[in-house]
Subunit: 203 residues, 2 copies
């Protein structure tokens, strides 16, 4: 069973779209370092993408520039799709991040070519915009992508920070976009970083 059981509709576009839908179900098997809030297990990419896309509906008021929430939701939904083939690269993994761009470009070529051309391009454009972190929508999505695992860490004894021996300066660097784009939220990040140092979760 699995995708080999797919019964074609005979319409090339529709079959591509349905098979792509089945293919991206693999996001449920791409594990991140982050623990779920209940600490039962590690979070996967489908869950993380859902979570930050939903957050996009809630934190707009803190953004320093105007954002298009529907568009940010789309961006959040697809921002990690390439990890289906490239795997998740932990934010504080220096070695993994060195070849991340190449791995992800190859993965994007492989994944997005499975869709009708203009749809593959539409999603790839959103992903590239997210990655470049230059437009207001991309900056807002990037803030959520950093705020969500930060929140999880604050509620799980600093799990991924402790596991990785993370330094305060590393976290500050990672959270810099929140400081710039959502300063009011950064105030909360900052007091949590103080506590994380006090608790020995980061050093």
């Amino acid at each position: 069973m699995g995708i080999e059981e797919f019964l074609p509709s005979g319409k090339i576009r529709l079959d591509q779209q349905l098979k792509f839908t089945a293919e991206i179900d693999k996001m449920t098997g791409i594990l991140r370092r982050t623990l779920l809030v209940d600490q039962s297990r590690r979070e996967n990419d489908a869950e993380h993408s859902w979570h930050i896309a939903t957050m996009a509906m809630l934190f707009e008021e803190y953004a320093t520039e105007k954002v298009d929430i529907g568009r940010v939701c789309k961006m959040c939904l697809v921002h990690d799709l390439v990890e289906i083939y490239a795997g998740d690269t932990f934010a504080y993994d220096t070695k993994g991040n060195a070849d991340k761009a190449n791995r992800e470009t190859e993965a994007a070529d492989k994944l997005f070519s499975q869709l009708p051309e203009e749809q593959g391009k539409m999603i790839r454009d959103l992903w590239e915009e997210f990655d470049a972190m230059e437009t207001p929508d991309a900056k807002y999505a990037a803030c959520l992508d950093r705020l969500q695992p930060f929140l999880h860490n604050t509620l799980t004894g600093g799990h991924t920070w402790v596991e990785n021996g993370t330094k305060r300066s590393d976290v500050e660097k990672r959270m810099r976009i929140i400081k710039d784009f959502m300063p009011e939220v950064y105030d909360w990040v900052s007091v949590n970083l103080d506590r994380a140092v006090e608790n020995g979760w980061v050093h």
Copy 2:
């Protein structure tokens, strides 16, 4: 550890929004009947919501009325949130569906009141619109909510159909919105239903 470790920002709105974000992480623990395509385990509500929100970006061309994709993405993201307290009700569970409305209304009261009032209302309105299945956006979202588990069933030996002893007429009733709103996609549903009967997955 967990939400009791939440360090308040001192700003009521922001604290509500952050705590709500942590609360909805419970979607990762609400299991549906559907198996993942790789059959490793049952799908959860966070994964399902992510999946159909992403599908919203791909199947617009088959809708018989104009839809607002960004808005549908939002609707898909929040359409099952009440299940955090009400639990998942299997589509073909007659008894469970009899008191579903009451259970979900109570759950909505409990969940959405945790947000700043206008944000709770915004999400509740989207959920109620989805449930009423009257607007084009809600019909489109409802189609995806039915198409996704149908696709999973076709790739997993009709798993939930077999488990429940489902009849063809039950599936047809459930898929009726696709027949009306995405007729070209329904053609594919229909040939898959034929195969499901041939294979003894539905009767």
